[in-house]
Subunit: 132 residues, 4 copies
């Protein structure tokens, strides 16, 4: 069902573009991260608060397929869906689409895990809200 | 008249915060720049296009007064007004205010100049639109 | 032969750390990119010049395995090797290791392609220098 | 005496450049901050540790005079000197010079203050080391 997909809208800011005149590769990870944190909010979770509570969520793998280049002033959406991966991991599937023509700009799979005491992986009760 | 002041709204993104848990000082310049470029758009001017046309606008001085610290998820507005400074320069006066309580977070004065052939200062016809 | 591996050394800057107190995920892509561009230099190629000449090299896929977290003041090396992938693509294999204990922090595979006129993929003569 | 001036050396990284092909204005504040933190280290102080100990040093004013533009691959030095300003404030005077020709690229005055409990200004004993 498409209505279970979380979507956040952004617009390219000129300082995010590099000397090729397009959004720098690393910046897409900023967009993806911000959309995931917005997704957490939509489920009543706050990344900064979780961090302060000692729930340290870290990315362990990122797969990014760059399909097209965003340019100054482009508007775009970033989608997020979350699924469990094994007993301990979470995988976020994300897409970045340019709003003007719905063209796919980037497809990403981000695997995350939570660390107890900054070390041992576990699955915090709080994150179950992301699966519903 | 306050209605001649251009305002752009933003929300803090977690990746903009540093290890103090607040927005990093340098990031405010990103906010200020983006608001200025939005202001240009509101007057029919596009920074990337101007650059491509050889109208190189550069900042020559920035005065930033940090009054308070933006934190994760804070919403805020960035205002812009432009005035001529002498015959060749432009000064942008900008304020960043937290939306929740209208508290002033930063006050800035940004002096810019345009360079012909990347060197000699001049006042491009195009920028007159910013003064009206 | 390990001596054919290009290596560049860096030190974490505090502003690269986020509110978890560790280097933000997106920043590793900055490190990887900078090491690739240094690698180009070591072979007599300059990314900005190539761009100006119309040789547009773009990343089409990035696979990043985050193994450990870099922290303020950590020194680290970023390695680069380049191999052809099919007739048109280049794959860069990169590792980030903390200098203090040679611990692997990140492993990455970056696939790039060159675009003629910003569109059609081709393999520019210049990039053959990367394979030797 | 010039030998009491702390200096740190950097090289422009391509991702720090924007669509004008020069280092983005905000990035200079990153350089300045990193050089100040290196300066703290040279006096036995660590910014991240101070933060963890509750010594919150914040910038309250930045004056930046942009004199020239750094470009891809430029090497440059960032200098730092610190002086007390009144009883509670510190002022850092900083210069960024291109190494190739010692040309002044940026001159900055950064005023900082320490906050006890994140609120009341005070002058922490630790920072006296910066004045010697």
């Amino acid at each position: 069902m498409t209505d279970t997909v979380f979507r956040s809208e952004f617009q390219v800011r000129d300082y995010e573009c590099d000397l090729q005149g397009i959004v720098n590769n690393a910046v897409y990870q900023n967009y993806l991260e911000h959309a995931r944190h917005e997704f957490l909010h939509s489920r009543g979770l706050d990344f900064a608060e979780l961090t302060a509570l000692g729930v340290i969520i870290v990315v362990i793998r990122a797969e990014l397929d760059y399909k097209g280049a965003l340019r100054p002033t482009d508007k775009f959406s970033v989608s997020v869906t979350a699924k469990p991966l094994g007993r301990l991991k979470l995988v976020f599937e994300q897409e970045i689409r340019r709003l003007a023509d719905n063209e796919l700009m980037l497809e990403a799979k981000i695997v995350a895990v939570s660390l107890r005491d900054g070390k041992r992986p576990y699955f915090p009760e709080e994150l179950k809200k992301l699966m519903s």
